[in-house]
């Protein structure tokens, strides 16, 4: 165990973190997970701190998970969405954020379509900034909860073969996973329709596969991304039905997956598209454990960020 200390007041992306910092968050989350299993599921660590959940892009589950995490830490909470904010009246993001800060808010949890928005605010504000998803760039707490779940089940990350299947191009979940898994020494494979499979990931050490069989055959973990129906209009692949038969996990393709491999999905699942129901609910699936672990990971991130805020 190293003597490192946490010093960041923001969590923007996993690409910026060192392997030690990622492990530090995961270890912290282990202790918060125990809080969620206690009789009293609440600790006073963020008492007196105010957190605003600022979701410029819509979200239900990430937001609910953050909100519950904040409550379990005894923070005061304000929720704000794009439609209710003055951004829709033409106010700039920085002005909105400065106004939020003027209310003595300590941490901003933000989802925003623009990658870079979080970095920009983090630099310009005293508040801590936590990225809850920025466009197709990063979704660090999702990456962390995926890796937390893998580590819990497989007892290690280093040397594992982890395959991420689906729309890699538009996936912030894939990016956060890829950056962090590589730092922790995993072997990462990506696969999906060629139009949704950016080849440049090869340059950072990712194996890029054009077919599902090769991608999952030796995998210890198969992480399936959601096919976003709204993107289908852009004709990245011929049809949902064809996607399901070529890249989905079903009775045919499950034969290539190792019996002890974990099946993961960030949700919401399109049953019968990325994943056939019987495998989404099967004994290899850890999908609901991902959700449970997400709460502990978000509590850990909020705690760490709160501990490093600049004092007035």
């Amino acid at each position: 165990m190293t003597d490192m200390k946490w010093t960041r007041k923001d969590l923007i992306g996993l690409e910026d973190l060192s392997a030690d910092e990622i492990l530090f968050i995961l270890d912290t989350a282990e202790e918060f997970k125990k809080v969620n299993e206690r009789r009293v599921k609440k600790v006073p660590v963020l008492r007196g701190k105010t957190v605003i959940n600022f979701f410029v892009e819509p979200s239900t589950r990430t937001r609910a998970s953050f909100e519950l995490a904040e409550q379990r830490l005894s923070a005061d909470i304000v929720n704000m969405s794009a439609s209710s904010s003055s951004l829709s009246k033409g106010e700039t993001l920085l002005d909105t954020a400065k106004n939020i800060e003027a209310l003595q808010v300590d941490i901003i949890v933000m989802r925003h379509a623009a990658s870079g928005a979080h970095q920009f605010l983090a630099k310009n504000l005293r508040c801590g900034v936590i990225n809850a998803g920025d466009g197709a760039h990063e979704h660090p707490t999702q990456g962390l909860l995926d890796i937390f779940t893998i580590r819990q089940k497989k007892k290690k990350i280093k040397g594992l073969n982890i395959s991420i299947i689906g729309d890699i191009l538009h996936s912030r979940v894939a990016r956060s996973n890829i950056y962090a898994l590589l730092k922790l020494g995993a072997n990462v494979t990506i696969a999906g329709p060629p139009t949704l499979l950016p080849k440049q990931f090869e340059q950072i050490g990712v194996r890029v596969c054009d077919n599902l069989k090769d991608a999952v055959e030796n995998a210890d973990v198969v992480n399936l991304l959601r096919i976003q129906h709204e993107r289908q209009r852009a004709s990245y692949f011929p049809s949902i039905g064809e996607y399901a038969s070529v890249y989905g996990i079903n009775r045919e393709s499950i034969k290539y997956v190792k019996r002890d491999a974990l099946i993961m999905h960030p949700g919401p699942i399109n049953r019968g598209v990325e994943l056939e129901s019987e495998f989404a609910d099967g004994d290899q699936s850890v999908i609901l454990e991902q959700v449970t672990n997400g709460l502990a990971v978000r509590m850990a991130v909020l705690y760490l960020v709160a501990g490093c805020l600049k004092t007035n």
């Binding site: 202790e31 125990k34 009293v40 660590v45």
Partner: protein, 185 residues
């Protein structure tokens, strides 16, 4: 700059005697059935090392094996945001029901009393013990909260500028208690 031990308070022999004495005080305090209800909770990190030593001494002296757990007070501290960084949260493991137990909270050094305040809040989130007592190897004074230990290995009056270090041979290679100036920490 090679930092030498400034002021030795206990050598290995003195530490051993102090721990032996702490164990007998604890056993004396809990007569008969009460001893069976006793559980040790070591405060991370050095309190857990002391609690392992005390566990062995209590067993040797009384034949009774106390329940044993560890507690980290990070989530209950009153100085979140007043420090520039955060240390790793260490393991809290309470593998027994605290309700109706005689909890002996164990730490290496009692100073401001703030850690003990945090530990009391943490324990009561797990249930309602019958009693909570406090055992420390060194009471160094400098109290900021109205908290006192029930079992004390040794009392010293140490200047506020100094920090008391307790080393355990299992982890630090040597049993020793000494003081050092905080700035040279």
């Amino acid at each position: 700059m090679e930092e030498k031990i400034e002021n030795r308070l206990m050598d290995a022999r003195a530490m051993e005697l102090a721990i032996e004495r702490l164990a007998s005080k604890i056993i004396e305090h809990f007569p008969g059935k009460e001893l069976k209800k006793m559980a040790f909770l070591g405060i991370q990190e050095r309190g857990t090392w002391l609690s392992e030593r005390l566990y062995k001494r209590v067993f040797a002296q009384s034949g009774n094996k106390p329940l044993i757990g560890t507690i980290d007070t990070s989530m209950y501290r009153d100085d979140i945001g007043l420090r520039k960084n955060l240390s790793r949260i260490l393991e809290t493991s309470i593998p027994f029901d605290v309700n109706d137990r005689n909890i002996v909270l164990i730490d290496d050094v009692l100073s401001s009393g703030r850690t003990i305040r945090a530990a009391l809040d943490a324990i009561t989130d797990y249930g309602r013990p019958k009693t909570i007592r406090l055992a420390v190897l060194v009471d160094r004074g400098s109290r900021e909260f109205p908290i006192a230990a029930d079992f004390i290995g040794m009392k010293y009056v140490v200047s506020e500028k100094e920090k008391v270090h307790v080393c355990f041979k299992e982890h630090d290679g040597e049993d020793i208690v000494y003081t050092k100036n905080r700035s040279e920490n």
